[in-house]
């Protein structure tokens, strides 16, 4: 499903060139739950940003569903992200002026669907993440874990092919982190959702199918 070939990302810092990703080639299958691990500066977030079309690599190919996404224009990349990719960041970044339901139906609205369709889709996914009783609550009325669930619901509402999570539990306590990880696991097992997650925590390993370890921009270990 995802084919990454010779991916390189080099930051030009004047006299110094930093190789954040150094010739990475890996495949990720549909329905896999993959963790990217490694020390700070190993390149795991950079890798996620390239594959998630949030940044452009220096060279290489990223093929998702037989489309070389690096050939897409900026406008096409925006549409691709909207239709096929979902993101959960460390910062929940839900809009404080909107309720949980409104935050979640925003991406559906962008696809040109009617308000009724948007609300129905948002309600369905909020139920799925366990926030059926918090739909009309604003950000300030939700705990950190609940806000992250809203962000996950927003990421899932357009039924993305791949869900990217960039240290999605870093701002949460252990109990809330486990709830989020169990939710990811459930989404992966029950609905076959492909998930690529960047994490530091060792206890996250038991929730994933595969761990890709990175060091100095290279894959050093690829464990099932």
């Amino acid at each position: 499903m995802i084919e990454i070939k010779n991916l390189k990302k080099i930051y030009d810092m004047g006299a110094i060139k930093v190789k954040a990703l150094n010739d990475i080639s890996i495949n990720i299958e549909k329905g896999e739950f993959v963790a990217l691990m490694g020390a700070s500066g190993s390149g795991k977030s950079t890798f996620l940003h390239q594959v998630g079309l949030l940044d452009s690599p220096t060279s290489g190919d990223i093929i998702i569903d037989n489309i070389n996404v690096l050939d897409l224009s900026e406008k096409e990349k925006t549409l691709f992200r909207l239709n096929k990719l979902g993101y959960v960041f460390q910062e929940y970044a839900i809009l404080e002026e909107l309720t949980a339901l409104e935050n979640v139906y925003l991406p559906v609205l962008m696809m040109g669907k009617s308000k009724q369709e948007c609300i129905a889709a948002a309600k369905e996914v909020l139920e799925k993440v366990g926030l059926g009783d918090r739909m009309d609550h604003f950000q300030k009325e939700l705990s950190g874990g609940q806000q992250q669930r809203v962000a996950i619901a927003r990421a899932l509402v357009n039924k993305p092919k791949i869900l990217f999570a960039d240290e999605a539990t870093a701002n949460l306590d252990t109990k809330s982190s486990i709830q989020i990880l169990e939710l990811f696991r459930e989404l992966n097992k029950k609905y076959g959702q492909t998930i690529i997650m960047v994490t530091h925590e060792n206890f996250h390993k038991k929730y994933v199918d595969r761990i890709i370890y990175l060091k100095d921009g290279k894959v050093i270990k690829n464990m099932e």
Partner: protein, 245 residues
């Protein structure tokens, strides 16, 4: 006529729109037997004149139905040229002047100064409004830079984000126009009831629809620019720059 109660302004107003007042021109013997009172309109040109009835003047000067000046009161400002043309078509070939031409001189200069002041204050107000809107939207976009980055990341189009800030700027603008109109309405009423005294007469503001429309449209245009520039500047940043700074 009861001279104690004579008020030239009331006298002129009583003529009504389209009425014609015959003002005799002559040097005449004016004695205390004829003068019956003093009136003031706070208008130098009028206050320096002596008013007598037409009948009295004719009896003093021994003339009948003669005048050196005819004043015509119109109901609407701005129709002077049309009436001048109508009079000309009626065969009146005498020298005709609009009130602006007649008063000319210093009053014309003062009117010009007032117009210039209006123009300068309008321009300064528009610049202040533009800067305020620009600063408000700039602060909003800078404070929400991370949020803008994440919205772009989840596939929200850059144009939609920019439009939302333009919409915000237009909201401030429309609210400003509304409160501005209320303020103008209030001030115009106050100054119409209590005109500002000037040597040449009392002055009160006249607010015309074209002036309001021009100012409102200018404010709308600068709000569009004030909303667009900062939001475009923030939204065009790369997603990662927006999110991580």
């Amino acid at each position: 006529m009861n001279w104690e109660k004579f008020n030239p302004l009331m006298f002129l107003m009583a003529l009504g729109a389209g009425g014609i007042s015959v003002i005799p021109f002559a040097i005449f013997q004016y004695t205390t037997e004829h003068g019956k009172g003093l009136v003031t309109l706070s208008q130098m040109g009028t206050d320096s004149l002596a008013f007598i009835s037409e009948k009295e003047m004719e009896s003093v000067l021994g003339i009948d139905n003669k005048a050196s000046l005819i004043l015509v009161k119109l109901s609407t400002i701005g129709t002077e040229d049309k009436f001048r043309k109508d009079f000309a078509e009626l065969g009146i070939s005498e020298d005709m002047k609009t009130w602006q031409e007649k008063i000319g001189g210093i009053i014309g200069t003062i009117a010009g100064t007032f117009n210039l002041l209006t123009m300068i204050t309008t321009l300064v107000s528009l610049i202040i409004a533009a800067v305020i809107i620009l600063v408000i939207i700039y602060i909003n976009t800078v404070n929400k830079r991370k949020q803008i980055g994440i919205l772009k990341a989840i596939g929200i189009d850059q144009e939609v984000i920019i439009f939302s800030y333009i919409f915000q700027a237009l909201f401030y603008c429309i609210a400003g126009i509304f409160f501005g109109l209320l303020l103008i309405w209030g001030l115009t009423n106050i100054f119409t009831q209590n005109p500002i005294p000037f040597p040449m007469g009392e002055v009160s503001p006249i607010i015309t629809f074209p002036l309001l429309a021009k100012s409102s449209i200018s404010l709308l245009l600068i709000s569009l620019i004030g909303g667009f520039l900062p939001s475009w500047q923030t939204a065009r940043q790369s997603i990662l720059d927006s999110i991580w700074g």
